[in-house]
């Protein structure tokens, strides 16, 4: 388990100090794939570097299985970094060393004999699907293959936690998918906790169980991915999840009564509920906006409906739609929303 408690980080610059992170509180349980998402400049990279103490927090601390990393000696920190390993956006392989030598590097650093390290290195290259590249140099590999080698290297010392710093941001969508599959597999098979730093919502959707949204150095929203996605509260979250609706505020500002139907799973998504409402209640709602996503095996999303008529029609529509399974109905107020029934 990794806990960040009231973690803050300031950088001293020529123009005074800058708050990179402000009072971050997060808990990552063992076995989670925890996503930390934010726009560039939100402090994601600083945050992940605080977790393995490459950056020392100015305030607050990081607790790993209850141990305060901030109070560790250099030697203890180095031992910790063999258990909390990291992969990077730019892969960061040694360009003058073969793939096998790259994978065995952490083992050699920890003092393992070369023959033992190479045996383990070959197993790891097999695990990531590149046993035939053992004697190739990174420059001869594609980006996706380089990241696989980097993953093998990160797994060499049998870590408990894998930190992924924008690990797929330099890859094309297809390769991204393959690398995420590999990470998910590692998480499932080896029970390694994964913390994923990204600016891509698709990455969180595809593999994360939990997510925290970081904006201007603060966590603005946090929770299970399914919850956060189906019912985003913070504006930053809405912008990340539904970038196409960043004009949503404009729609809401116009008059008229609107409801937001948030649906929470495959069952609801197959129900033709708006058509049924028209037939059953005679209310002809018009769709102002909609967005759906599949998260894991389930579908999530929302429909923004304008309801004609007065408060009576509105109440009727809300009660009718609320009777559908796995649906949350909200009446949209200006710039916000009030939950009516879950």
């Amino acid at each position: 388990m990794i806990e960040l408690k009231n973690l803050s980080k300031q950088f001293e610059t020529a123009d005074g100090s800058v708050d990179a992170l402000r009072h971050i509180n997060l808990t990552v349980q063992d076995g989670d794939i925890y996503g930390i998402i934010g726009m560039s400049g939100a402090g994601k990279s600083t945050l992940v570097r605080c977790i393995n103490m490459l950056e020392k927090p100015t305030e607050g601390g990081v607790y790993w299985n209850g141990k305060d990393l901030g109070s560790m000696s250099e030697k203890e920190l180095r031992a910790m970094r063999r258990r909390i390993t990291m992969i990077f956006q730019s892969f960061n392989l040694l360009m003058q060393r073969t793939c096998l030598k790259n994978v065995t590097l952490p083992l050699r650093l920890s003092g393992m004999k070369n023959s033992d390290a190479e045996k383990r290195g070959m197993e790891l290259l097999e695990l990531v699907g590149l046993p035939d590249k053992a004697n190739s140099y990174p420059a001869q590999l594609s980006g996706g293959q380089q990241q696989r080698v980097a993953i093998a290297r990160a797994l060499a010392t049998d870590p408990e936690v894998l930190l992924c710093d924008e690990a797929t941001s330099a890859l094309d969508p297809k390769t991204t998918h393959a690398i995420l599959e590999l990470i998910r597999e590692i998480n499932k098979k080896m029970g390694i906790t994964v913390i994923v730093i990204t600016h891509q919502m698709s990455v969180v959707q595809e593999i994360c169980s939990h997510v925290a949204i970081l904006e201007h150095g603060e966590v603005v929203e946090e929770g299970e991915v399914s919850e956060v996605f189906s019912n985003p509260k913070a504006n930053a979250t809405k912008n990340l999840i539904y970038p196409e609706l960043s004009d949503g505020a404009a729609i809401l500002a116009e008059g008229g009564q609107k409801i937001r139907i948030i649906y929470n799973g495959a069952v609801a998504s197959r129900e033709p509920m708006i058509a049924k409402m028209a037939v059953d209640c005679g209310i002809l709602g018009s769709i102002l906006g909609a967005s759906t996503r599949s998260v894991g095996d389930l579908a999530y999303g929302y429909i923004l409906l304008e309801i004609p008529g007065g408060p009576a029609e509105l109440a009727k529509a809300v009660s009718y739609l609320s009777s559908m399974p796995d649906v949350i109905v909200q009446v949209e107020a200006e710039y916000g929303s009030k939950e009516v029934k879950a």
Binding site: N52, L54, L77, R78, A79, M80, R81, R82, T85, M86, F88, S90, N92, L93, L94, M95, Q96, R97, L105, P106, R108, L109, S110, Y137, P138, A139, Q140, R153, T157
Partner: protein, 235 residues
Amino acid sequence: MNFANAFTPERLQEAWNCLLNEFPFAIWETLYSTLLATLFAIIIGLPLGVLLVTGEPKGIRPLPKVVMSFLNVFINFLRSVPFIILMVMIIPLTRVIVGTSVGTVASIVPLTVAAFPFIARLVESSLREVNPNIIETAQAMGATPMQIITHVMLPESVPSLITNFTLAITTIMGYTAMSGAVGGGGLGKLALAYGYQRYRYAVLYLAVIVLVLITQLIQSFGTWLARKCDKRLKG
């Protein structure tokens, strides 16, 4: 200078004899004083170059500012003294180390003293080319500062180091020619003492040609080796 009778048949014959009799030993002297001085200069200059990079405030093992300032001033000082003056200046040191200040072996001392600050700067620039992300990655792996130097920084900069050491060797060879002025042996002495001072210009030019050829050979070999070692180049 009188060039009119520098290239008469007798003079050319004389130069040919000199080439056969004197040059092999002179070439040997030039080569061993150059290579030994380079070797000693690397032994001293390489660690200093490493310190210049790792000891910075943002380096992997920061050193006190005073130490870094002293190191920089010291290196800059040695780098700015002209070699011919440095040679004379450190005669007492040469006497202590070699027992004499005259001769080819003795010339290795001033050559080393002139070359190690140069090497230190070259190593510094090679190490600065190493991708800082890779150094961070090594830190994230739990590498000690020493391990980062030996397992990451130096291996990653091998092609650049080879290129820079080649440059150092050719520069030091130029210095050996100057050391001929203060009793050092080699092609430089041959050119000055035999060729210039005894008006044997054919010998002077011959010595220069041989020096140029050796420089070319070393440079080509260094370039080839650096390319061969660089695994960033595909195919």
